[in-house]
Amino acid sequence: MGSVHRLRVAMAQINATVGDFDGNLKKIIEAIEQARSLGADLVTFPELALCGYPPEDLILKPQFVSDNQKYLGRVVRASSGLSVVVGFIDGRDGPYNAAAIIHDGKLADIYHKICLPNYGVFDENRYFQSGKGCPVYVVAGVGVGVNICEDIWHEDGPVSAQASSGAGVIVNISASPYHYGKAEYRKKTLARRARDNGVIIVYNNLVGGQDELVFDGNSLVIDAKGRLLAQGRQFTEDLVLVDLDVEPVAGTGGSTPTGGREQWPTARVVVSELPSPKPNRRYPGGSLVEAMTLLLKSITPWCWAPATMSTRMVLVKWLLVSPGALIPAW
């Protein structure tokens, strides 16, 4: 076993609003700044955080897609000193439901969602092309597989391809709507996925109401044994900070994946090599009516002032879990 790298991840569980590029950008930049001040190597955001989810037929408007790409440029410019994974629409040759992998002022790569949900409330085949590759990103020396929402619900999906190609951490950015009993289902399924693939899962869900859907937050960090390390709050914004001790990524990557049905190339993309220095400091130590209340709030902005960033500062968590877990007791 080589020297273990510590990856400090901040999961920004934000309430993005469809079409509110200015508002969403503001939330994203505030969370990046907060994550930076907390010494995070990587800050993650939900699926399509830049444009809101689901944008439905707005995606058919070229102006909507080009505006969203313009705002991505502003996120890139705000990313000095750390890595960012943020959801947006990649309109080039697509459109694709995409995640931008950004580091220190540069767009390092773009991941395209492979598994497009087309059941229940979802219609993604109507809008998006399916991605064709799932690289493993080297972030602060650690192998990180980035994928999007539905990608993680398939046993032989991108997670197994990325895990078998050197990813020790899976970052899944998600917009998973609430229904009665869903939170438990997610926890159970993701724990199994983490165990089966021997990876840590960072599952960053969206929060907020959008038309008939409520995104309930409940973002999760699950260790490679399937144990819950951290959880975002339910029905409210949150910034969840965790330190993950992961073995450095081995080999050169880019190998043809073996086993399973995965068929996507898993190229190795170096985002950042060295762990960034962390400040030597301590940080403070996670229902139906709530879902309906949240959606009511979302449709009545004139009655409700959204939580400000300073309010959300209070929500920053430092979750100390049982001994032996990956979060160290400082």
């Binding site: 009665y180 139906l288 309906m292 009545t300 009655c303």
Partner: protein, 257 residues
């Protein structure tokens, strides 16, 4: 927000949720009693408004209702009073709520539950009128559970116990009860779960041991109400399969099964 408060459990729960979400100062309740409204319902509406700290307007609809009956006396003559007369009351109320909405910029919250939306036991342009339908994906049996849950959180009888104890009634006709038209809600909701959420066939549900006549009737009601649901305000997805994006069935549909 403006809510028609009948003194029944659905509007009581919706008013409570609205107050939780937006604060009492942003919620207005309106009682619109007709000749069929019970004294108990009126006092329950008053008590709930008091418990929630919201203002309650009282706009009796008797005069308008009578004017409608007089106006339609010619065309309706010789035909027994029934659903048309019942629904006129619901539509007067919908109309009044929309007038308040226009005048004051309030959003009308519709108060129908999933059991009603499923079976069409709801009045188009009446109690279905509104901008947002908070509990449209909450079955009636769950409405009771949520109301009790909310009371337990409050540590008091926020929603008056008489609201939870009374026999469900639309109070649109003399001595009317929901069970005049629908099976008891425990039974109805179990059939609806199987037929709507689980896509089970009429035959499958009968094989589960439910009275064949009940299953056939409920399935017919659900299928025939598709045109109503298409015109309903949006509301929060709560169950695994909500009406709307989650369940897209044709209005023109001869399939029976």
């Amino acid at each position: 927000m403006v809510i028609g408060l009948s003194g029944g459990v659905d509007s009581s729960l919706v008013a409570t949720i609205a107050v939780d979400a937006l604060g009492a100062e942003n919620v207005v309740a309106v009682a619109m009693p007709s000749r069929y409204s019970s004294q108990g319902s009126l006092s329950d509406a008053g008590l709930l408004a008091q418990n929630l700290g919201i203002s309650l307007m009282n706009i009796p609809i008797e005069k308008v209702f009578q004017a409608y009956l007089d106006l339609l006396a010619g065309p309706f003559s010789g035909i027994e009073s029934g659903t048309a007369e019942e629904n006129i009351q619901a539509r007067i109320r919908g109309n009044l709520l929309m007038a308040l909405s226009n005048k004051f910029g309030w959003l009308v919250l519709a108060t129908g539950n999933k059991s009603e939306m499923a079976t069409g036991y709801t009045t188009l342009y009446g109690d279905m009128a509104g901008g947002f339908s908070v509990i449209k994906d909450v079955p009636k049996t769950m409405v009771y559970k949520l109301a009790r849950y909310r009371n337990s959180v409050a540590g008091m009888e926020l929603i008056p116990p008489s609201v939870l104890a009374k026999t469900p009634s639309a109070e649109l006709g003399p001595d009317q009860r929901d069970t005049d038209t629908l099976p008891p809600y425990e039974l109805l909701d179990s059939v609806l779960t199987a037929y709507v959420e689980e896509d089970k066939s009429v035959e499958q549900i009968i094989r589960q041991g439910v009275d064949p006549e009940v299953v056939k009737k409920v399935a017919r009601l659900v299928d025939a109400s598709e045109y109503k649901r298409r015109q309903a305000p949006p509301g929060v997805k709560i169950t695994t399969k909500a009406f709307g994006r989650d369940r897209r069935l044709p209005i023109t549909n001869k399939f029976r099964g």
